[in-house]
Amino acid sequence: MAGSERQRGVSLLEARGLTLASRSGEVLVDGVDLTVRSGEILALVGESGSGKSLTALALLGLLPEDIVRLKGEVLLDGVAVTGLGGRHAALRGRCIASIFQDPQASLDPRWTVGRYLGAQFRRHGTAAGRALAQASAEMLARVGLADSRRILRAYPHELSGGMAQRVMIAGALAADPRILIADEPTTALDVTTQSQILDLLEELQAESGLGILLITHDLGIVAEMARRVVVLYGGKVMETGAADAVLVAPRHPYTRALLASMPDIEALQPPKPIPGTPGDRLPAASGCPFQPRCGETVGDCAIRAPVLTSHDGRSWACHRTELRPTQPELRRPHQQPIRERALVSLP
């Protein structure tokens, strides 16, 4: 399917003002905008409760029963697919594939890898009959599993975590999708295996123009993989922009605090915690969700929600910088503002 849509930068999948709530009315995702482009890795970053996985489920059309969409749209190739029900599901199956954190749990323990992959090809009509075995073996080779004869006969419990994730990726690619949503795909894996899977995703993206939405909590992975990043907190976009710009000179206090809380293998300073827990947030209507944990609050933070300010292709939602958008703070990630540094208790 080498067509114009596989060129880099074409918008494939979009969320516009996506707002999701529980049945009890608690807003869990609030006005999220994001665009997955072809040939590009977009990282969606946040802690528990940030709404990153719910956003992914909404993009996939797989929202659980107890979550309702209050507002906003999901667009596939510029066409709104929200509320299309069965048709969304059919479109999604062809265009968007997904892989998740625990590959062993996503595979049926009673099915061999061959049966699983065969079913994926048949379901999407990308291979059938005698071609199935050949297509499955080729797909395994493409995801770096050379010993396909053995692996096609293996059951999930006979696979290592890394092999199982490769099989999941092979199954996801069987549909010849244009978009891959990868929700914490390496969180359950060892660091050397993680490295292999990240390399594989990069290669697939480069060779086929796949657009990838990479959901992760690890800013190190964002730095190594993503072209652009969306930072979520409490269901709202805090900051978005080119990954290298956002990570080198974050403009939102949450992005800064999250960066400082990451342990760095080379840094001498210990990671700096953010007080409270990710569950501490102001409700959507009453201010900035990060206000209860923020060390840089001003009066407005607990009164009204800040709007996204855009500048230089970047956007951020903070009252402090909203006041003086012409002077974005250009700090390096591990440098704390002087006021904060004085508060760090010394050993």
């Binding site: 060892d190 660091v191 390399d199 293998i265 840094a267 210990p270 990671p271 700096k272 827990t277």
Partner: protein, 339 residues
Amino acid sequence: MSPSREAPPLVQALGLSRSYSAAGWFSTSPPVAAVGKVDLAVERGEMLAIVGESGCGKSTLGRLLLGLEPASAGEVRFEGRSLQGLPAREQRALRARMQLVFQNPMAALDPRLPVGTQVVEPLAIHRMPEPGADRPTIEQLFAAVGLSAELAGRYPHQLSGGQRQRVVIARALATEPDFVVFDEPVSALDVSVQAQIIALIRGLQRERGFAGVFISHDLRVVRHIADRVAVMYLGRIVEEGPVAAVLAAPAHPYTQALVASVPRLKRAAGQARLRLMGDPPSASAIPSGCAFHPRCAAAQAICRSERPALSATAPGRSSACHFSATREPAAPSLESTRL
């Protein structure tokens, strides 16, 4: 912190091994060697990290050091006395001085008991303190780990993950242990909360002076919590030394691969993410010679036939590689990848 020359280390493993024979009459699988001939020492007040991939035996080693699991060979000494063959009474007394903190606090806590009650439970179990001495209160134990005493009446499910881990740490410290094994205590936490628990463990250790073993797969966390690090591969220690030195210039090819695999915010030009191919082999089929040789880019004939001993490469550092002495300790930027 360094003890006088005569004093034995607080905890010492000598040739410590643990293997599991396959269960069942009809099982044909060979025994699994989880931990093989480990020698290590933990001095008073120091934190030793044990790192490695899943299945490398690091958790088994932690349990062996606490005497929670019998050794197949070798021994563990606490203050110079072997844990094996201690009379039951003395073993029980020692238990109070050695504690364990797990990864999953939800599993470590009783869901039906208020957390305050659980924190003082070890004192009752160990009939501590001696009559006449002051018994630490729930309030004191909670305050030590930064928890508000108001939470004492809550049940585990009513707390956040970080609060639960604080409860587990408070409980482990109630008996004022000299030695604590932390088994992946921050792996399940959000990064902002993980940093809180790292700071808490570090602070408590400084205040109270207990020695610890910190088991982790995350080198970034280890860098900020440990004084020394021991790297395990298939049940054996392959490298050991001060954490900053080992992570800055790892001597063993396996450590080099681990360090290079860590995702980082800033990667210097030419510092490729090193790819170590394949998975660690099973502990039931450990390769001959150096167990790492099938995945090692620098492997030679000798690596397939002879197991390298853990030997000193620099003061305070050791590595189990035939070529550690002749090779410059490589920065994690090495190009040698086995594809």
